[in-house]
């Protein structure tokens, strides 16, 4: 399977902002946060369609989210994920003794998800990560 090395940024989007106000367990939040914005040309190079599942891996973990064609491009080699539990499965916890983890500028790899891999909804993601319901 073809992989691509990229830099992962995380941050706020207005949809994440309104999604969280609808409630963390809401469909709005899930749809606005469990995504990864990728540059159009990078998506083409990997053969991933807009809205298909994509696997984002870093040395800290990997996560399946929905790929979204970035409307904020061109930003080749940069992917963007909104703040939330999905990005934090792959975020860099190193704080360099400042208290602040490295949420932006993380080395990552992206590849198309296999047909067996799906985007986990919040409850399943929490169950998988923390073993609680």
């Amino acid at each position: 399977m073809q992989k691509m090395k990229v830099t992962l940024l995380s941050g706020r989007t207005i949809n994440q902002g309104t999604g969280k106000e609808h409630g963390k367990t809401s469909q709005e939040y899930y749809e606005s946060v469990a995504i990864c914005e990728v540059d159009t040309n990078d998506l083409d190079a990997l053969g991933i369609k807009d809205g298909a599942n994509i696997k984002v891996s870093t040395e800290f973990g990997s996560i399946i989210v929905k790929a979204k064609e970035s409307i904020r491009g061109p930003h080749p080699g940069i992917i963007y994920m909104p703040y939330g539990p999905w990005i934090n499965a792959v975020a860099n916890p190193t704080t360099h003794s400042t208290g602040m983890p490295s949420f932006k500028g993380i080395h990552a790899e992206i590849e198309p998800a296999t047909s067996a891999e799906r985007v986990l909804p919040l409850h399943e993601l929490l169950k998988q990560a923390f073993g609680k319901e």
Binding site: G11, G73, A91, P93, G99, A129, E133
Partner: protein, 486 residues
């Protein structure tokens, strides 16, 4: 229907105070003046699907309803018995609750940290090192003629910031950027129409041209109206409003800031590009900065979370200081939550330190990197936690969140957050600013009151009341412990 005017919006650091709410049968039915986030909150906060309405306690692996008495007793027991408890959150509640929280932290000898440690904590560390030249948002609104956003996307995170305080507001002494933006927009729409027509004729793909061009606007230095420059790692939505957008390579903000400092000091750069930005463009931007009458640099977590962290802020603060030798320039962090500034303020009043305060030795001790929440959790040092008005399970890196969930966890939150779903005790509180009153601090350090607009659901207590009850119970436990020891 009664309309409540001048409501403050309990969401982001812009802390708008001009919201109008229509209330019908103790429910908010219409929202005026708020942004998309504000409207979503005021109209959806009471949705019972996403709300905690009863105290919950974990029994045999599942959260079940319980009484307030039992929930408070259980929480007090967890905190009193823990040897290194962590009290985290605070930025989305009022100052009164934060004050009670610090008292509780001192009583149990725990660590109290607010969300600024994963937001603008590095900025605070840097301000303590370098110092800051700043002012209130009102000054900026009326006087600033150059606005720069660096590593911050106000359209997404502080949607009304541009409209209330910066580029799009008419100040008493400073006209806004509005006219220039509208004429640029017209140009783009015309271009789009032409391209659409040619696409229909030729059946070819077309791309939408960005509103902000790649060419540096030649007249920018001489414009009388407010000027807006956005510097970011990607073309954010806010960049579309800007007169000029600078795309910096990720993790290279420090280089770019230091290069700008060199140019401000009239030194020469012997390279073609810095952080992906041509030196020629950089020289023009610095000319605009030196040439302005009153400039302001707003910086977001794009600087504090990227490589360099507090050192990026050092460079930004120093750049502002250097610019003040030539003109008037101020700098301000774009604080995220509506009362994160208040959390720092109250913490400073009561402990002497703004965040990450450790009471385990019996006196306040401050050393971010050692006493900050993510570090304590990543090293698995705490043995219990109380989380209030925030959602670290959703927003901390996985390893930190796992160690938080592993130990006894108390959550005070009106909402079913990811953290509340993982908790051992859930104490449902009222929404401050909608169902409860309080005081909060805007991002520029101006305190404003939070209003009570509707009555809270029956049986819910305010954040402050819950914390005071836990504190009373902890003191009772400690007294009886002392008696039995004696």
């Amino acid at each position: 229907m009664p309309i409540v005017k001048n409501v403050t919006c309990p969401i982001c650091g812009t802390f708008c105070d001009d919201i109008e709410l229509t209330v019908k049968k103790n429910k908010v039915v219409d929202v005026k003046n708020a942004c998309a986030m504000g409207e979503a909150k005021f109209l959806n906060y009471s949705d019972p699907h996403h709300r905690n309405l009863n105290p919950l306690i974990r029994r045999n692996g599942t959260l079940v309803e319980t009484s307030w008495t039992e929930a408070i007793k259980k929480s007090a027991k967890i905190l009193a018995e823990a040897s290194y408890p962590l009290l985290y959150g605070w930025s989305s509640t009022c100052c009164e609750a934060i004050s009670a929280g610090i008292e509780l932290a001192e009583e149990i000898g725990g660590v109290i940290d607010n969300t600024s440690s994963v937001c603008h904590g590095p900025s605070i560390l840097s301000i303590q090192d370098v110092g800051i030249s700043t002012c209130t948002l009102g000054q900026i609104r009326h006087r600033a003629d150059l606005i720069i956003y660096w590593g911050s996307d106000p359209y997404s995170a502080h949607p009304r910031h541009l409209e209330r305080y910066t580029a799009f507001t008419e100040g008493r002494f400073q006209p806004s950027e509005w006219k220039r933006y509208v004429s640029r927009l017209r140009g783009v729409i015309g271009k789009k129409k032409l391209e659409r027509a040619s696409q229909l004729a030729l059946m070819e793909e077309f791309s939408v041209p960005p509103i902000t061009g790649n060419q540096f606007p030649p007249t920018l230095e001489t414009e009388k109206e407010r000027k807006l420059i956005v510097i970011d790692a990607r073309r954010t939505h806010s960049a579309e409003f800007a007169d000029y957008f600078v795309q910096v390579e990720p993790n290279k903000d420090y280089e770019l800031l230091q290069a700008m400092r060199m140019l401000v000091k009239n030194e020469e750069l012997e390279v073609e590009k810095v952080a992906g930005v041509p030196v020629g463009v950089l020289e023009k931007i610095v000319d605009v900065m030196i040439g302005c009458k009153f400039g302001v640099l707003f910086f977001g977590v794009g600087l504090t979370m990227s490589s360099g962290k507090l050192r990026n802020i050092d460079a930004a603060l120093a750049l502002t200081r250097d610019l003040n030798f030539a003109t008037k320039f101020v700098i301000m962090p774009m604080r995220g939550h509506f009362n994160v500034t208040g959390a720092n303020m109250v913490s400073i009043w009561q402990t002497g330190y703004p965040f990450s305060v450790d009471f385990s030795q019996g006196f306040p001790f401050y050393n971010p990197g050692e006493t900050s929440a993510v570090d304590i959790l990543s090293r698995d040092e705490s043995d219990a936690a109380l989380v209030i008005a925030s959602d670290p399970v959703a927003n901390f890196p996985r390893v930190a969140a796992q160690n938080l969930v592993k130990n006894p966890l108390i959550v005070i939150d009106p909402e079913k957050s990811a953290t509340a779903l993982m908790a051992d005790v859930v104490l449902p509180s009222t929404f401050v600013g909608i169902e409860a009153e309080g005081i909060a601090y805007r991002m520029d350090g101006v305190p404003l009151p939070l209003k009570r607009v509707v009555k809270p659901p029956k049986g819910l207590l305010s954040d402050e009341e819950i914390l005071r009850r836990i504190l009373r119970e902890v003191r009772k436990l400690k007294r009886s412990q002392r008696r039995s020891n004696a």
